[in-house]
Amino acid sequence: MSNNVKSDLLLECRGIDKNYNGPQVLSKVDFSLRRGEIHALVGENGAGKSTLIKIVTGITNRNAGTIVFDGHDVPVEHNKNASEKLGIAVIYQELSLIHGMTVAQNIFLTKEPLLPGLPFIDIKKMNAMAQEMIEKYGFDLKATDIIDKLPIAQRQTVEILKALSNKASLMIMDEPTSSLTAKESERLFKIIRMLKAEGITVVYISHRMEEVYDLSDRVTVLRDGKLVSVLEGEEITPAEIIRLMIGRELTEDESHHKMVDKRDREVVLEVKNLSAEGKLNDVSFKLHKGEVLGFGGLVGSGRTELMRAIYGIDAFDAGEIMYLGKTYSPTVEKSIASGFGFVPEERRLQGIMGGISITGNIGIANLDSISSPAGFVSRDKELERTQTAISTLNIKPANPDHLVGNLSGGNQQKVVVGKWLIRDLKLLIVDEPTVGVDIGAKEEMYQTIDRLSREGVAVMVVSSDLPELTRLSDRIIVLRKGRIIKEFTEGVVTEEEVLRAASGIVEGGAK
């Protein structure tokens, strides 16, 4: 390491290893940033982007490797406060702002200017300082605005100002545009270029290839916890990035899952022109008996919202849902009674009751069939159903009294699915079936879904895991910004095609 001369690298990570007591999340990753560059970090879900960022910012510690920031060796026992002192800032969407406070108060929190010689805050001076910063960058803000009243895009600019006031030399933005409109995103890009002009290094994490393409000086591609490539200048094209992200040389069999056209079968569910303000825009499709319909798209594209609307959790503004040929206005109770099953996105939050046994978790969705007319629950019936679910799904340990919170992710997910399997199931909605699930359990989950579809259950699968989506689906609908942007109905579909559609790169038939 050069002692006196400042290296042109702001950050240099070498051979970073990380495992969370089990699977290797990062192995031997090198990652370096030049001063004043915009550097995109891309990779599929689970490629290790977030973990790498957490290590750099000190939220979690690495197992091996060295990090040098601005000439200082960063110790393994790194922490958030230390990284902030070094000048590393992360721009969250809204997490780190204090509600109920003004813009100025947030920017200068814990470093408020004081009246000379007194322990009292000089509010006038603080507001003036904040206003000066705001005007310098031409933001659309007032120093005295209350945070709660600002839209997300402006809260982000407050975060940026806060980082600037901390003299940050590195700003990390994790999916900064995921909840911004096109216009707001444009404004953010302008700000990012301004930061670059000031000599600040920006790390940009995004799934939106066109943004990465427009903005970045360099791109680091991660895949399965390993560094794949660092692209620079001319090498950066959306198609190339997507190719590197998907990467592995797929066999014909693996990458090209054959679509199966089941559209001649009985229609189970028909959605007509469904719209919900700000979430869904004129969505129409049909789901057939025994069909697995996959939903692709980026996070925030409206997939989960669509599922929740159909199941009856959230209301919609316009459109119609037909179930088995009849108009259906969903509520959760009615959906369960009509043979719907729902495996929600956030397992720990929405799927399981961790402090309750497997029996209790499975019983709760089936109280109608295991209790007497007077409302007493039959423990024998409950146990019997649970045993059925445990044996069909191979839940381990096969102990009905085991607390679900202590099961592995895969087995927890089986319990959530198990709740519905022992019913007369007609329609199963699965949102991100295998997040946080190990490979063995993943395969079992796929087989379960295959089996159900053979038995005639109509299945809707939402997944951000592209191999999973193409592996499972008989047909794939890709959503973007609440609309159906593309539908793959026949032949073979590659992950690349799905990702292109989700990113808005559609050849020909865009709606």
């Binding site: 780190s96 702002l97 929190l109 303000e277």
Partner: protein
């Protein structure tokens, strides 16, 4: 106009309306004597409510305030009965005891990450029992009413002109606390710790120390109120303050400090305190049974909270609708 400003206007309007109604129903209501007694009542609750406001701003709760009042008065009575120490020594000791209790609350809450409600409910029980144990007893072991004759102590119950000292102290403490909350870093830290503890920690605020400080202040306020209460009654009983939580919580909640943390100020609490005192006084002046006081106050809490939740829901709905409309418009421009 901001929500809290509207709320204060409505409350002040109600205060005046109820005041006018009462003075018509019973002319003695408007007598200076009655008004000053009412303010004295309000101030005794209000001093505790100032501390409690800070507790709510941190999104916590302090159930021990009533028991702190009881134990403080018992500490004073013990000093009076068994020692020759002058008031200007044992009163600070009693106030320090209030702070110490707050420290214990804060320590258990922050150090062991325990729920505020459980910790302070436990200390409430312990202190209420301790107050009975250390109470001065007669030969048969029954709690004895000690009549306080110490002139220095009793002077706390007196007036300056027509105004009770406790009212003056209440107003000064309110102004000082409001200034502290809005104009010092420590005050800002309290708001931040309540609004978003994670963000506060990431911004370099020592949230644990901030919380302990707030619980100490709450204990101090309760102890201070206890001294004025004993001086006014010229005696002290181990039941002093037990059950006062209702009035205190009502005053703060009506004043506009929500349970969710990060929001609230002392001005609202002052108005809330006056409101509760007026209602209680009014019930007496109308010749109604004093037993309906807690029923009415409980009802007022429910009505206020329901109105708050309803308004918040309404405002949020309006805000998201406006934001979506804006987003849609700019999307169309962008596309």
């Amino acid at each position: 106009m901001s929500v809290s400003a509207i709320r204060r206007l409505i409350l002040t309007g109600l205060l005046i309306a109820i005041g006018i109604a009462l003075s018509i129903a019973n002319p003695t209501f408007l007598k200076l004597d009655n008004l000053m007694t009412m303010l004295q009542e309000a101030s005794l609750t209000g001093i505790v409510a100032i501390g409690f406001t800070l507790i709510l701003i941190t999104a916590g709760i302090d159930m021990s305030i009533g028991a702190v009042i009881a134990i403080t008065s018992m500490i004073c009575v013990n000093f009076i009965s068994y020692t020759q120490l002058p008031a200007y020594i044992y009163i600070p000791i009693a106030l320090a005891a209030g702070c110490a209790i707050g420290w214990v609350n804060g320590f258990f809450i922050t150090h062991f990450k325990l729920p505020e409600f459980i910790v302070t409910l436990a200390t409430r029980g312990i202190l209420a029992g301790l107050a009975l144990i250390i109470a001065v007893k007669d030969e048969q072991g029954f709690v004895k009413n000690v009549f306080i004759e110490d002139p220095v102590f009793l002077s706390f119950g007196e007036t300056v002109g027509p105004v009770y000292i406790v009212t003056i102290v209440f107003i000064l403490l309110a102004i000082a606390t409001q200034f502290f909350m809005k104009r010092t870093r420590a005050g800002t830290n309290i708001y931040a710790s309540g609004a978003n503890p994670t963000a506060a920690r990431l911004s370099g605020i020592n949230v644990d120390r901030t919380l302990i400080g707030v619980y100490m202040f709450s204990g101090f306020c309760a102890a201070l109120s206890s001294i004025f209460l004993a001086a006014r009654m010229m005696t002290a009983m181990p039941e002093f303050g037990i059950g006062n939580e209702l009035d205190v919580i009502a005053s703060v909640v009506i004043g506009g400090t929500p349970f969710t943390g990060g929001i609230g100020d002392i001005w609202g609490t002052i108005i809330g305190t006056l409101f509760i005192a007026l209602i209680k006084n009014g019930i007496l002046k109308l010749g109604l049974s004093p037993y309906i006081q807690p029923i009415v106050i409980g009802g007022i809490i429910i009505v206020t909270v329901v109105a708050d939740v309803w308004y918040k829901h309404h405002a949020e709905k309006k805000a998201t609708q406006a934001a979506r409309r804006k987003a849609m418009e700019s999307k169309e421009v962008g596309a």
